[in-house]
């Protein structure tokens, strides 16, 4: 099977800055693919390389096996949901959605009908006459989605699609986007800096750091088996243990990741480790306890209802041996 999008050793330099540095990537057709990373990690540039708004300095990009070397954005069968939505302010919602069809020369009646269909797909029936300025953020986001889908792209690119929405709306849209992707069966590639969003929506996640891909895998690969210290720390703020601490925790002398929620307090006489509580952070669903052990700070997530130690208290810690995940020295 040909991949929907392939990167072959792609770099994009801006002057001396290597925004994207020798990236190899294959995105399967029909998958929901997340590009996750902090700002400046190259994920947005990668998205723009797919849409064609950036050209690779070196390397090549293929979309459904076809080399995109000299294909401009308007000739690519991919469409984008922009971060700021980029709705045309002088057109009403219907004309915004129908824009792609207007460009193709589809006659007015047909394109308006099609626009109405897409508006109903994103649950905005009856909003066609309104101007973008009269819509809420969530509604604009749906219009941008409908507009990007009107040309029936085989790959839909979403640049921080939920970034501007408030928490509740964001969670609702996560479910909707996921359902929409399943229904349409096309490839979604979305960029986010929110690891929760990436883990909950994507089939596969690429974690970016400094213009390179640190790890590609399923959400549970990335979360449970981080390949590097960066991935362990960025995805779910794991405890990253230096080799000496790993050793004192009963492992080999290697870097390791130990998730805060995998650690439990124990009253047993020989705990796997001991730590002195330095800070407590109440999260609602639980409490994050910071402890000092072996000159290193580690965090423990105590679920709501379980007893929480006091600051200054020395507590015994234990965990399931499989929870200690060893990493390459990177």
């Amino acid at each position: 099977m040909t991949a929907a999008v392939e990167f072959h050793n792609v770099s994009r330099h801006f002057g001396t800055v290597r925004a994207v540095d020798r990236v190899d990537l294959a995105i399967d057709e029909g998958s929901f693919f997340a590009m996750l990373g902090p700002s400046g990690s190259g994920k947005t540039t990668c998205l723009r390389l797919i849409s064609g708004f950036e050209k690779p300095t070196t390397g090549s990009i293929r979309i459904f096996g076809e080399d995109m070397g000299d294909v401009p954005p308007n000739r690519r069968h991919v469409n984008t949901v922009f971060q700021d939505y980029a709705l045309f302010p002088h057109m009403n919602v219907r004309d915004n959605v129908a824009y792609g069809l207007m460009v193709k020369g589809v006659e007015r009646r047909t394109r308006h009908e099609r626009a109405e269909e897409l508006l109903s797909l994103v649950k905005l029936d009856g909003f066609g006459e309104r101007k973008p300025a009269q819509l809420s953020g969530g509604q604009r986001q749906r219009v941008a989605l409908a507009r990007a889908l009107v040309n029936e792209p085989r790959v839909l690119l979403l640049d921080e699609p939920l970034g501007a929405l408030d928490l509740k709306l964001r969670e609702a849209m996560q479910d909707e986007l996921k359902a929409l992707q399943r229904r349409l069966g096309i490839t979604f590639v979305f960029v986010t800096h929110d690891q929760g969003e990436a883990l909950s929506m994507a089939d596969r996640v690429a974690v970016f750091n400094d213009g390179r891909i640190a790890q590609v895998g399923t959400p549970s690969d990335v979360y449970d088996r981080p390949a590097t210290r960066f991935v362990a720390d960025f995805v779910g703020s794991s405890n990253v243990l230096p080799p000496d601490l790993t050793r004192s925790f009963g492992g080999p002398r290697l870097w390791a990741s130990l998730r805060p929620e995998s650690i439990r307090f124990t009253g047993a006489s020989d705990p796997k480790a001991k730590g002195r509580v330095t800070a407590l952070r109440y999260l609602g669903s639980g409490t994050r306890v910071a402890l000092e052990t072996g000159g290193q700070e580690i965090a423990v997530l105590v679920p709501a209802g379980a007893p929480v130690p006091d600051i200054g208290e020395v507590s015994g810690l234990t965990w399931d041996p499989a929870a200690l995940h060893l990493m390459e020295d990177a």
Binding site: S51, N79, F82, A86, F88, H90, V103, N151
Partner: protein, 310 residues
């Protein structure tokens, strides 16, 4: 008395008065400019309008202060009407040429120029506005003169016959560039260009780059994006600029006097009628023409949706 608030001075009390009556402060702030605009500006405009409904006694040359439309009828006399047609045609041509010349400059400045280039752009556009208008116009007279640099350069590159052919065009041609309508037109475009570039650039600056990308993303080529996205969003700026170039050309009486054929434009007609001829009513009627034309122009622009994006 022991109070949490220290005793208040006069300024403090005044602040209190304004704080509790916010409309009072607004009224005080806008009163002087409102008086200036209302009395000095609108008042004199009303006086002008009134004068245009008077007429002049043909024998004594005295203004008859009685309401009549006779003076307006006089505007339609061929010799006067020609002046209006000539001026409006020139203003329209100057405006269209300014739009065409200003757009690429404004687009470049809004989209691509950053930092030092942007400063250079503003300097380049504004610099001509800092020097005397008269000096610029006289400089152009020399540039466009028969013995001037344009003729010299045209002959130097063997294009003398091209220049000759252009000047041989009836009506707009003439003995030399500086004595033809072409010359008047060129100088008008030069002098008013900044007034077109600046509002246009401001309008284009407000168009986010992502809109152009969205258009391309949806399959539009450059020309389609220009027509469907850039132009409609830049239209308020273009209209604003054209209000300047159009009305400034309609009212100017110096450029056509120094450069061009000796035939009158509206401004010159007003100038000579209220001066030597002493025909204030006709001068006033002439002066009303640009106002009416601008009102019609704005109404049409509004109807076409030029201000929808404001």
């Amino acid at each position: 008395m022991d109070s949490a608030h220290p005793s208040r001075g006069v300024a403090d009390r005044l602040t209190g008065v304004f704080w509790s009556r916010p409309k009072l402060l607004t009224a005080l702030l806008i009163a002087p400019p409102l008086l200036w605009l209302g009395v000095v500006y609108v008042g004199s405009l009303a006086a002008l309008l009134l004068q245009s409904f008077y007429s002049i006694d043909e024998f004594s040359g005295v203004v008859v202060p009685e309401f009549t439309l006779k003076t307006y009828a006089e505007l339609l006399r061929p010799s006067n009407f020609d002046v209006i047609v000539r001026t409006v045609t020139m203003a329209a041509a100057v405006t269209l040429a300014s739009v065409a010349v200003a757009f690429p400059i404004a687009f470049f400045a809004a989209r691509y120029a950053r930092g030092r280039w942007k400063a250079l752009f503003y300097l380049g556009v504004m610099l001509p506005l800092w020097s005397s208008y008269l000096v610029k116009v006289y400089a152009w007279k020399l540039i466009l003169a028969k013995e001037g640099i344009v003729t010299w350069a045209a002959e130097g590159i063997g294009a003398g016959n091209v220049l000759g052919a252009v000047l041989a065009i009836p009506v707009i041609g003439g003995n030399s560039l500086s004595t033809s309508y072409i010359g008047t037109f060129l100088v008008f475009v030069y002098v008013w260009l900044p007034y077109m570039i600046l509002p246009m650039q401001a309008a284009l600056e407000r168009v986010p780059g992502s809109l152009l990308e969205a258009s391309a993303d949806l399959g539009a080529g450059g020309w389609r994006t220009f027509r469907s996205v850039i132009l409609p969003l830049a239209l308020p700026g273009i209209i604003a600029g054209s209000i300047f170039t159009f009305s400034l050309t309609l009212g100017d009486y110096i450029i056509p006097q120094i450069i061009g054929s000796s035939r009158f434009f509206i401004g010159q007609a007003v100038y000579s009628l209220q001066g030597t001829a002493g025909n204030i009513p006709l001068a006033a009627a002439f002066a009303v023409v640009p106002i009416v034309i601008m009102l019609i122009y704005l109404a049409v622009a509004r109807k076409m949706g030029a201000f929808d994006a404001l």
